[in-house]
């Protein structure tokens, strides 16, 4: 930073533009790699998993936005995930060939529903469904956020309330058998935009679309968190009262960011549903919502790359481990929660940033990077004080 300050305004701009370009380049490279190289390496089944997990990574970005950057721990994102999934699933359930004997989704016939319920109708159009799958969860999150943040509820209270919300939505969706098929959820999708869903080619396009959407979501989050807005979010996270005293009203910002996060979860739910072929109230399970948080924790909070990475690592780990040791997945998962919180508070990305750089320097034989006053680094007393000051800060 000091260098940049010395370089003057133009220098800053140039440096910033260069790093931005580099980031765009890296993201594009990774995306291209995922799009064209990965399908060659993985079997069809694993590729489908990859697609699903990339969809989950979108939700992880949303969680990172509110937890990593704004400090709000939501344990209810499963609800928004499911709402997005349902929105798209309802659209697909309405893709009934005109020749079919009944123009209703087949479960309605079974339960004696003779007319399409009013709220199903608009989902017949794809543009509506495509907007709704982000808008509905977004609005829902916004509404809940407004009610909660308005009365200055935060911290653990907020987490508990979001958790209770999952149960409520679960009960509601679970009980409405005639309207949305209750526990069984929506499944057995045939076509989307005229293409057969289960077809290999379609799945391939969905996979590509997921990657593009993930990149887009990444860009949105990056944009939100880098500028003034992002700094404000972090201020709210670190000391909301102080931010309030400097004249900001946090409610609006928190509502907005919670809504964006909910919308991202909805998008993730829709893409996940497309690839897994089912959406049911089970997605509103408490356990699933909390698992989403651990993806971000594993990857590294407040780093967008970490969220994506965490979602992929944890889910592939889960998939492989539960194949090998089906009985003991819960032990692994529980250990992961404990381990990450206690030893890796900054996640994988954090570890690479701090330890990794040092190790790399050690390996290449270069000496430790020294800060401005080398003598301070050697002075045990200064070290001790610095450590204690750090500790006190993190305690507050």
């Amino acid at each position: 930073m000091t260098v940049q300050a010395a370089g003057g305004r133009q220098g800053v701009d140039w440096l910033r533009r260069r790093s931005l370009l580099m980031e765009v380049g890296i993201v594009a490279l990774v995306a291209l790699f995922l799009m064209f190289i990965v399908p060659l390496l993985l079997s069809g089944f694993r590729l489908n998993l990859m697609g699903r997990f990339l969809a989950l990574a979108i939700a992880a970005l949303g969680i990172d936005l509110i937890w990593g950057f704004t400090g709000l721990l939501s344990l209810g994102h499963g609800v928004f995930f499911a709402l997005g999934g349902y929105a798209l699933a309802m659209h697909m359930k309405l893709q009934i060939p005109a020749t079919a004997s009944s123009q209703l989704p087949e479960f309605m016939d079974l339960y004696g529903v003779t007319e399409l319920p009013w709220f199903w109708r608009p989902f017949d159009s794809f543009p509506f469904a495509a907007i709704a799958l982000m808008l509905i969860p977004g609005l829902m999150a916004g509404l809940l956020g407004y009610l909660v943040f308005r009365s200055r509820i935060r911290g653990v209270y907020f987490s508990i309330l979001t958790q209770a919300m999952t149960i409520i939505f679960f009960n509601f969706f679970n009980g409405q058998q005639k309207l949305i098929n209750g526990t069984n959820g929506l499944t057995g999708f045939k076509t989307i935009l005229g293409a057969t869903v289960s077809d290999a080619g379609t799945q391939r396009s969905i996979y590509l679309a997921t990657i593009l959407l993930l990149v887009a979501a990444y860009a949105v989050c990056r944009w939100l968190t880098s500028g003034r807005f992002g700094r404000l979010l972090m201020a709210l996270r670190d000391d909301e009262s102080r931010a309030r005293f400097t004249g900001y009203n946090p409610t609006g910002f928190k509502v907005l960011v919670f809504a964006v996060s909910g919308a991202l979860a909805g998008l993730a739910g829709a893409m996940f549903t497309l690839q897994s072929g089912i959406i049911s109230p089970k997605a509103m399970d408490i356990a699933f919502s909390i698992e989403m948080v651990i993806w971000v924790a594993v990857g590294g909070r407040a780093t967008l790359v970490g969220a994506v990475l965490g979602a992929l690592v944890v889910n592939f780990g889960k998939s492989l481990l539960s194949e090998k040791f089906p009985d003991f997945w819960l032990f692994f998962l529980g250990g992961l929660f404990l381990g990450v919180v206690m030893f890796l508070p900054d996640g994988i990305v954090g570890l690479i940033r701090t330890q990794g750089v040092e190790w790399f320097r050690n390996l290449t034989g270069r000496s430790k990077q020294l800060s401005t006053y080398p003598s301070l680094e050697e002075d045990p007393e200064a070290q001790y004080e610095r450590k204690n000051i750090d500790d006190r800060k993190s305690d507050g």
């Binding site: 721990l73 653990v156 032990f331 929660f337 507050g396």
Partner: protein
């Protein structure tokens, strides 16, 4: 009419007292440390499993003593849960003070481990765990005598950890291969366990057309006992005084020489012990299985949210309010009170057990608009209070 009113009051209070019993420990811990213990439900589950073990032991003895097993089970459940709670506090939570959200995640991890633990615990597993602790901690204890222990500790841990895991794994595998089912059979397995109330708790006390179930009466009495006990402990003992002091102002208490760490540990142990007692009591009414704890957590959290932090009375009133609301809405009594057909329809829509929960949650959110800090908030001058 009289019977149905009595029935309503009794059932509402009874549901409320179950919630209260389950939430009591949680509320105390939350009040003191600001920590939400997601493993609270699992501590209740451990209490319930302790009841199963005690019951089976007394079945062996048989005779009239069996009728009294529940009292021994209560004590045992308190002790087991309190010990596990203490271990949890010492081993995990105390490193995370001041980071409530991380604590929440870590205790969720603990709850997952405990759930799977009761599913798959067997002699081999216990043996392996003990062997591992002996090797790992014993090894460190031995090596601590070296003068340069501090400087090489990292390496010692790095070497000792895989070594002790490897040895205990190999030993328990060997044991499992040699003795087969006798040692590898899970103690409990994934199935639900049966807890049968002693015969004097199984019937009910008839009042006219209506019958008061004994187990529910017992739980109400147990709840009253626990609340009175906690009240007495907090207000009439030395440690209670300290707990209250730390709850009100941690830094000031520390300055005055109160060992806040010890206070935390004791409170956490007592809170966990109360969860154990709750688990024991609830095993008379509900199921005992690996999922038992999960069924209660959200409701107990709601009690804490509604009741507010740091006052026992808030928890009591919060639990009763939720319990009565749940019952009144769920049975559709409200529909009988009004003549407005539209309202009647609304009440009828919510008059199933599932939908009543939806309504109660909406009411809680509404309530928090007016009293964001709960019924009886702590008064203070900080911005955050």
């Amino acid at each position: 009419m009289f019977a149905s009113i009595l029935d309503g009051i009794f059932n509402g209070l009874s549901i409320g007292s179950i919630l209260l019993l389950a939430a009591l420990g949680l509320a105390i811990v939350f009040g003191l440390m600001g920590v939400i213990n997601m493993a609270h439900g699992e501590l209740m589950m451990l209490g319930a499993y302790t009841t199963v073990v005690v019951q089976n032991a007394f079945k062996g003895i048989g005779g009239p003593l069996f009728e009294l097993y529940i009292f021994f089970a209560l004590i045992a459940a308190f002790l087991v849960a309190a010990l596990v709670g203490l271990a949890l506090e010492r081993g995990v939570i105390r490193y995370l003070y001041g980071r409530p959200l991380e604590t929440l995640l870590a205790t969720w991890g603990v709850s997952l481990i405990l759930q799977q633990f009761v599913r798959s615990v067997s002699w081999v597993m216990v043996f392996g765990l003990i062997l591992f602790s002996l090797l790992f901690f014993g090894g460190q204890w031995l090596l601590k005598r070296r003068a340069d222990f501090e400087s090489v500790q990292k390496w010692i841990v790095a070497a000792l950890l895989p070594l002790s895991i490897g040895i205990s794994l190999a030993a328990s595998t060997f044991l499992g291969q040699t003795y087969k089912l006798a040692v590898t059979k899970p103690w409990f397995g994934a199935q639900n366990q049966d807890v049968t109330a002693p015969s004097w708790l199984r019937g009910g006390i008839p009042i006219g057309n209506f019958q008061l179930p004994s187990t529910r009466l017992f739980i109400m009495i147990l709840t009253i006992g626990c609340v009175v006990g906690v009240y007495w402990f907090l207000n009439c003992t030395k440690w209670g005084l300290r707990i209250r002091a730390v709850t009100q102002n941690r830094n000031m208490s520390a300055c005055l020489g109160i060992p806040t760490r010890k206070v935390d540990a004791i409170t956490f142990a007592i809170g966990s012990g109360l969860a154990g007692v709750a688990g024991c009591g609830l095993s008379l009414l509900g199921s005992v299985g690996p999922n038992t704890g999960q069924n209660y957590i959200v409701n107990t959290f709601m009690v804490v949210v509604v009741g507010g932090v740091g006052k026992l009375i808030g928890t009591v009133v919060g639990a009763m309010a939720i319990g009565i609301a749940d019952y009144v809405i769920g049975t559709g009594i409200l529909g009988n009170l009004t003549n407005n057909p539209a309202l009647k329809e609304v009440f009828a829509f919510f008059a199933t057990t599932s939908m009543a929960k939806v309504m109660v949650f909406a009411l809680i959110i509404l309530f928090l608009q007016f009293r964001p800090a709960g019924l009886f908030p702590q008064k203070g001058r900080t911005v955050d209070a």
